[in-house]
Amino acid sequence: MANVTLTINSEQVTVPAGTKVLDAAREAGFFIPTFCHDPEAPGYGGCRICVVNIKGARSLMASCVTEATNGMVVETESPDVVEARKTILELLLANHPTDCLTCDKNGDCKLQDYAYRYGVGSSGFGGEKHSYPVDNSNPYITRDLNKCILCGRCVRTCAQVEDRQVIDFAYRGFQTRVAPAMDTNLAESACVSCARCVAVCPVGALTYTNLSGKGRTYEIAKKQVTCSFCDAGCQFDLNYKGDKVIGVTAKAPGEGRPLCLKGRLGMELRYSDQPLTPMLKKDNEFVEVSWPEALELEDVLAKLKELEK
């Protein structure tokens, strides 16, 4: 494929045709923040934090969806770009709990990182904030919509799972939120707790319930493992606190139909030093059950016991 040459922050950069400005800039070592950009599901362009100044363009352009062209002149941190990013961060913080002290995402949060980088301490706007009840109906995933910045990564990654597409945007304007069908909670939805959504959430809106309060992100060391349940080969992180594995989290989906429930929970069971008790949905509610019941081995075990006698 042909190459194109563009200027980014006065530096000549040559990339293959079709490359997005974001990738070209990052390749050349320039920083551009992103919330909604997901390399696995590109082309969304919603959060606007990645806007850059492109000479001759009518407005600031979202670099994640703008193709690099020959002779393009890009500035990634011009005053108007910085102003826009600061304002966007301020707007997001105006509708965010900013409870970083107790947030499990603290230290691994894009909103926090960018606010730090651009010096946005708090929002001067004041005004209404969402006060949704936290959805902890699902035993594995905690969903706090008050922290959601509506980047839509969870929606897009969920849509990639065949036959699923459990969540989508609902309502309009300030009331827009991500919701399962009929705006129920996760437990009542068709969610199978694969946690792809948790893996891509850039803020603390989606977190692992079992890791809640278990440690700050900087106390936890991660070691990558590959799931061998099928040939997709999804990657997981073993979360070590000290020498104990306190949880297994999804890192990235592999090819095919990746990051399934079986893999996610199987890895947890295999590696975790504090595996969760199995839960089964009975009458639309999750209840703790024994391993034999979860694995539907009760009959077999009973027969074995008979034989032992």
Partner: protein
């Protein structure tokens, strides 16, 4: 190619026959029906039967004078047709007796007359010379109020489908060239060259292409598209077919909001009749050109008027804009090259093909050719639909056509372009209406709604109204629009409630700039315009709210104090009884007084007072 000559001759004869008979026609556009046209129709049918009159009863669409609906036209052979306004069922008997039985028009009810070849009546305005129509041109709206919109025969008899015939006899590129030469620009408000758009779709690679019509009219105060759809549905079909032929599409879709049931019904009828006559469907006029049109009813989200959100909605997805590029011309509906035009743009096309691009360019200004349909609403005397040549001034539209301000009031501002447009003050009244000058003045052409405001309108309140609209209609995809409009709206609420501080103006400025520059789609990029334009032209009004805690227009309730004028008050007690907050006290026949702390500023006392003794300031 089969031409329509035989069919047209037959239709023309039938139409001539119809016009030669005595006729009474009721305006049954949505405006006519809303003001009681259907009941008038019933009354006419009963009265005609009761009197045993030999007269045809017919209906038509909106002729434009919505402020005179329900309208009824009486046409007798050899005499001028008279269009009456404000005809309610109780007037029907007298109308029939005088005009039909005694051949004498009821002069005081007459709005206009259309003499044709007959001698005009004295004392009734001839349509073309009437104040409402004098400055208008009628091309896109020429059939509105004149023909039966559900009759394909009348459409064909009045030159309908001639443009299609002509186009099908031309090379596809030649059709595009003709539209380019006409200078027609997107009538949805964007103002992009329609011919160029067609060229892009023509050039785009693809085995399948679509022509889509954007009939998701949603600006507050805009009803041009609805009127055209209801009054001349075949013109839209013909325009789409010409576009389809030119760009190489065989399928079209009209995205029409479900709140326009009459438009959808008439479109469906038009499609069925055109298919029946072989004008629409397979192998049209034996040329081998196939074209099918279907209707998609939209659920009423304003953002679906944005072209990429509209395409998402047709595909069954949530109406959220896509990033552009790729533009719909290259990757539109189902990722195929798609030509997306507004109702009025398509409606112009048959006229351009039939009369030639030269005819079209004879109207308008240097860069904005042809005519534009506007809706006149707000505090004007004549609210309704008008079609004017581009380049006409706002003053002519507001003071000549719309008849000036209601109740002798003073003009304050005109809002054009809906939530994306701006408010223009008196100093801009002589502005020539075209795309560039409206944009330069801080507003925009938009789809054609003109909301006129007088001195009782508070401009901060107007900005608040539009921001509330865009905030509710924001799709929620991009941060600046979703969160930014919310914060701007909150600031405007504060200012109107007397809680504003001077720094709020800087914040509004900053947010406006950032949102305009960084929002994803047209809705977000223009949502700050109502604020920008009112801050530009009416800054003193913002200052009055913030610094003096005063609303000069007397609109913002929190800033008003209701007071009783002791000299005028007779102590009748009407206000006291009307006050829901028991804030008014006073002895009988003694001047009353209002306790400002208890007053909830509902205005009930003012409405009840017969002596003008209560004022707000």
């Amino acid at each position: 190619m089969n031409n329509l000559n035989d069919l047209r001759t037959k239709c023309q004869e039938e139409y001539k026959q119809k016009l030669s008979r005595p006729r009474i026609v009721v305006g049954l556009g949505t405006c006519g029906i809303a003001s009681g046209g259907a009941k008038v129709m019933e009354a006419i049918k009963e009265e005609v039967a009761a009197r045993g009159l030999d007269i045809d009863i017919d209906f038509t669409s909106c002729i434009g004078m919505c402020y005179r609906e329900p309208m009824v036209e009486v046409s007798l052979p050899g005499a001028a047709s008279v269009v009456y306004g404000d005809i309610f069922p109780d007037k029907v008997a007298q109308l029939l007796e005088s005009h039909v039985e005694n051949k004498t028009p009821v002069y005081e009810w007459a709005a206009i007359q259309i003499p044709g070849e007959a001698t005009p009546y004295e004392g009734i305005d001839i349509m073309e010379k009437a104040p409402y129509y004098e400055k208008q041109v009628r091309s896109v709206t020429s059939r509105l109020g004149r023909t039966n919109p559900e009759s394909i025969g009348e459409y064909i008899a009045t030159g309908g489908y001639e443009g299609l015939e002509k186009a099908l006899g031309m090379e596809r590129q030649a059709v595009i060239d003709e539209v380019k030469k006409s200078g027609l620009r997107g009538r949805g408000g964007g103002g992009f060259s329609t011919g160029m758009k067609w060229q892009f779709v023509y050039n785009a690679q693809g085995d399948k292409k679509y022509a889509v019509c954007n009939a998701d009219e949603g600006d507050p105060g805009a009803f041009m598209d609805r009127s055209v759809l209801e009054g001349d549905p075949h013109a839209i079909l013909e325009g789409m077919m010409i576009a389809g032929y030119a760009i190489g599409a065989d399928e079209g879709c009209i995205y029409c909001r479900a709140e326009y049931p009459l438009a959808i019904r008439r479109l469906n009828l038009a499609i069925a009749k055109a298919e029946e006559l072989g004008i629409l469907g397979e192998n049209i006029l034996d040329t081998g050109f196939n074209f099918h049109i279907r209707i998609k009813a939209g659920a009423g989200a304003f953002v679906c008027g944005e072209e990429t959100a509209l395409l998402n909605s047709i595909e069954g997805q949530r109406g959220m804009p896509r990033v552009r590029p790729p533009f719909p011309a290259n990757s539109g509906l189902w990722a195929k090259p798609t030509c997306l035009n507004n109702v009025e743009s398509y409606a112009n096309v048959p006229f351009i093909l039939r009369n030639g691009s030269d005819w079209y360019t004879s109207m308008g200004t240097d860069k904005s050719k042809g005519s534009k349909v506007f809706c006149l609403t707000g505090k004007v005397n004549n609210t309704g639909l008008c079609e004017v040549p581009m380049g006409i001034t706002l003053r002519e539209v507001i003071f000549n056509i719309a008849g000036g301000i209601q109740d002798g009031g003073t003009f304050k501002a005109v809002q054009s372009g809906g939530p994306s447009g701006g408010c223009l003050p008196t100093s801009q009244l002589d502005l020539k209406i075209d795309y560039e000058s409206l944009t330069a003045a801080g507003s925009m052409m938009g789809s054609g709604g003109l909301v006129v405001m007088d001195e009782t309108t508070c401009m901060v309140d107007v900005a608040k109204f539009f921001l509330n609209f865009t905030q509710n209609e924001s799709c929620g995809k991009c941060t600046p629009c979703r969160e930014g409009t919310k914060r701007m709206l909150e600031i405007l609420h504060r200012i109107c409630d007397g809680q504003g501080v001077i720094e709020d103006l800087d914040t509004l400025d900053r947010l406006s700039t950032v949102i305009t520059k960084s929002a994803l789609c047209g809705l977000g990029q223009t949502c700050a315009n109502p604020i920008i334009s009112t801050m530009r032209y009416f800054r003193d009004e913002y200052m009055a709210h913030i610094v003096d805690k005063r609303c000069p227009a007397g609109v913002c309730a929190a800033l008003l104090v209701y007071t009783v004028d002791a000299e005028k008050c007779t102590g009748c007690g009407a206000c006291l009884r009307a006050c829901p907050a028991s804030a008014i006290t006073g002895e009988k026949k003694q001047p009353h007084s209002i306790d400002p702390a208890a007053c909830i500023k509902c205005g009930a006392c003012i409405t009840k007072c017969k002596f003008d003794a209560i004022y707000k300031a």
